[in-house]
């Protein structure tokens, strides 16, 4: 079966407090950088077997819904391509 590599960028939803981002922003400014609006999210990458790109994408979206993303706090985007 074909293999697909998926990449999920998981971000806090807008409006959700991001203390990790704030802390990193502070640290960057302490070091003299001009960084603003720092956000820290997750990058989840994985390989799936599926008959087609569409099916692979559907499978990864189910993974996101069932486990990888917490919809209370998080949004995600997905890139997927044959391996």
């Amino acid at each position: 079966m074909p293999e697909y590599r998926a990449q999920l960028g998981v971000r806090l939803r807008s409006g959700v407090l991001d203390p990790a981002g704030q802390a990193v922003g502070h640290a960057l400014r302490d070091l003299g950088f001009s960084a603003r609006d720092v956000a820290v999210g997750k990058l989840i990458e994985l390989t799936v077997d599926a008959a087609s790109l569409e099916l692979a994408e559907a499978e990864v979206r189910r993974m996101a819904a069932e486990l990888l993303v917490n919809p209370v706090l998080e949004d995600f985007d997905l890139e997927i391509a044959p391996r």
Partner: protein, 235 residues
Amino acid sequence: MRADILVFPGSNCDVDTEIALREALPGWQVTRQWHDGADLSGSQFCVLPGGFAHGDYLRAGALAARSPAIEGVRALIARGGLVLGICNGFQVLVEAGILPGAFQANTVQHFICRDVALRVERAASPFLDAFAAGDVLTLPIAHQEGNYRLTEDEYRRLKDEGRIAFTYCGPHGETAGDYNPNGSYASVAGVLAEGGRVLGMMPHPERAAWPAIGRTDGLRILAAGLATAMQGGTL
């Protein structure tokens, strides 16, 4: 009467909870059950203990919340049993959708282990029977991701329904001031499910169930089963 402690890979307060439950519930059968194959059908009280289930990888509690054992917990709740999630166990209950909200890292971005003061809110629950609203307890916290997030609406609803169990406070019960250790919304430290028979809390009652050295506030929470049995509850 039987109390069961669910053990996930990475749980590390399971034995502590067993020790404390034996102290709190004399005469009860107390068991620890490995999550895989756990059988809660003979249980009246289930505790999800603290620790780092599955290493807390991805999100605290997220992987454990997908364990088949959680179906047993839901069944116990449906039967009217008592369920207590302590620290990581609270995170698991939230990830499983049994309790509302979500967790983030402490605002200070590191682990915190120390005693905190907790105010008992007005709440009807077997877990709080020994207390009056406004009582102040001392219990230790020990967590990295204890920043409990609720929306304003959720908070108001929980408050109206009497489901806020504890808030972090000062030594005399005051919440004004810098007493919120982790950034939790409205200093909430513990919440109840509808009906008051499911409690999730970040502080560790099992670590304050040691009369010989003068730590006892947790004992009274863990004795919920006794209180319920004495009142002829549905256990």
